[in-house]
């Protein structure tokens, strides 16, 4: 189990995947999601998504504010803000209103900035979320 100081503050997230836990499949939540374990699958949240320093995600991430301090191989869609912390490593494309990349972060992909309010989550008929 990772020490407290290694992690972002994720105590208030509705869904928290701790270090040492592995998830296969798609995570969805109306609230916040925090990952400090491993996930192979997509993350879709109406709230914020945080990938902690120990987190490894292989799949797309969609949320309001997306923060990456671990590893992400997939695309990001953030309605408000995407933050890559200094320990973060992203391989994929980022679509967001605001983008913040700290010194030391690794980003391989394309970024697309959109106007505020222009990225909205829309439920599709098959239950997945699509970007409008």
């Amino acid at each position: 189990m990772a020490k407290k100081h290694d992690l972002l503050s994720v105590a208030n997230a509705d869904t928290v995947i701790g270090t040492g836990v592995t998830v296969g499949g798609d995570l969805r939540s109306d609230g916040d999601i925090a990952i400090d374990g491993s996930l192979q699958g997509s993350i879709t949240a109406r709230g914020n998504v945080t990938i902690g320093v120990n987190g490894i995600v292989k799949g797309d991430v969609t949320g309001n504010v997306v923060t990456v301090a671990g590893e992400l191989r997939g695309n990001v869609v953030a309605q408000e803000l995407t933050t890559l912390r200094g320990s973060g490593r992203v391989k994929g494309n980022i679509t967001t209103v605001n983008l913040e990349i700290e010194l030391g972060a690794l980003f391989i992909g394309r970024s697309q900035m959109k106007a505020a309010g222009s990225i909205a989550l829309q439920d599709t008929e098959d239950g997945t979320n699509a970007v409008k």
Binding site: M1, K4, A11, T15, G18, V21, V23
Partner: protein
């Protein structure tokens, strides 16, 4: 009409010492009724079913969590109210409902504040509060009783029991668990302790939904905090544990392990399917909505 199911062996037979006073108090409050004693495990469930068929609309478990668990599993109609008079030491559910003593319980029964909780199916049984597995479930009942706040336990006894629990917690090997969650994803984790509960049980204003908490490999400080919370009958959680919510989970472990259901050492093991149902049980509680967690 009140039907009281007494477990005569609860709390080491503690009910025998108070039953005259209890009957008198119930009569004073105008809530006396038929009193029956169980003869063994499973009796309470059958007795409650029969009582409901005979027209009783309030059933009261007089005993520990195990007695209440059996009573709840005997409820066949949504309009039947369930109360509890805690006897003995294993009364986590009663405590969660704001009922700490038999005297307090009689007042609460008379006040008749009802809250409807969704029943959760675990295999063929129903539960209302929680299922636990891992270290907490495997702690022996004697360990739990020795470490509680019984006035008869000396400080030395309690410290010895706590030290013993801490050592055992350090030696406990995590169980490999696989959860299939809502048919949507699979979660694999090494489990030191897992608790599956009803969100609504902690906060009646929340939705009925499964809340799953997993502690995987606590360090020494986290282990101490976990045991301390267990002693205080609080949520035995640690920072950075895993939390998810769901409507149903299929739980498998390697190897198969016993489960603690509603605080009862029920004969249930993994693998097991746990799911929300449409069934409700109306519990007579002692808490206002604002005093529940998260309210």
């Amino acid at each position: 009409m009140y039907y009281y199911v007494i477990n005569p062996v609860a709390g080491g037979g503690a009910v025998n010492a108070i039953q005259d006073k209890l009957r008198q108090r119930l009569a004073e409050l105008g809530i006396d009724g038929e009193i029956a004693k169980t003869a063994g495990p499973g009796d309470a469930t059958k007795m409650v079913r029969d009582a409901i068929e005979r027209g009783f609309n309030t059933v009261v478990a007089v005993g520990g969590d195990g007695t209440l668990h059996e009573v709840i599993n005997g409820i066949t109609r949504d309009n039947v109210a369930v109360g509890v008079i805690p006897i003995g030491r294993g009364n986590l559910i009663a405590s969660s409902l704001g009922i700490e003593s038999w005297k307090e319980a009689t007042e609460i029964l008379a006040a008749r504040r009802l809250t409807a909780y969704g029943l959760i199916a675990a295999g063929k049984r129903y539960f209302v509060s929680s299922i636990t597995l891992g270290f907490e479930a495997e702690m022996s009942e004697s360990d739990q009783n020795a470490s509680n706040t019984s006035p008869k336990a000396t400080l030395r006894t309690r410290i010895r029991a706590l030290r013993n629990q801490y050592r055992r917690a350090g030696e406990f090997s995590p169980i490999q668990a696989i959860l299939q969650v809502d048919n949507a994803y699979e979660l694999r984790a090494p489990v030191f302790s897992m608790r599956i509960s009803n969100l609504k049980f902690d906060n009646p204003q929340a939705d009925n939904r499964l809340s799953i908490s997993i502690i995987d490999r606590p360090d020494r400080v986290q282990r101490a905090g976990y045991l301390w919370n267990l002693l205080k009958k609080q949520d035995a959680d640690v920072p950075n544990s895993t939390h998810i919510t769901a409507d149903d989970v299929v739980l498998e472990t390697d190897p198969s392990v016993p489960l603690l259901i509603d605080g009862s050492t029920e004969a249930a093991h993994t693998p097991i399917t746990i799911r929300l149902t449409n069934r409700r049980v109306r519990l007579i509680t002692g808490k206002q909505a604002v005093s529940f967690k998260g309210a």
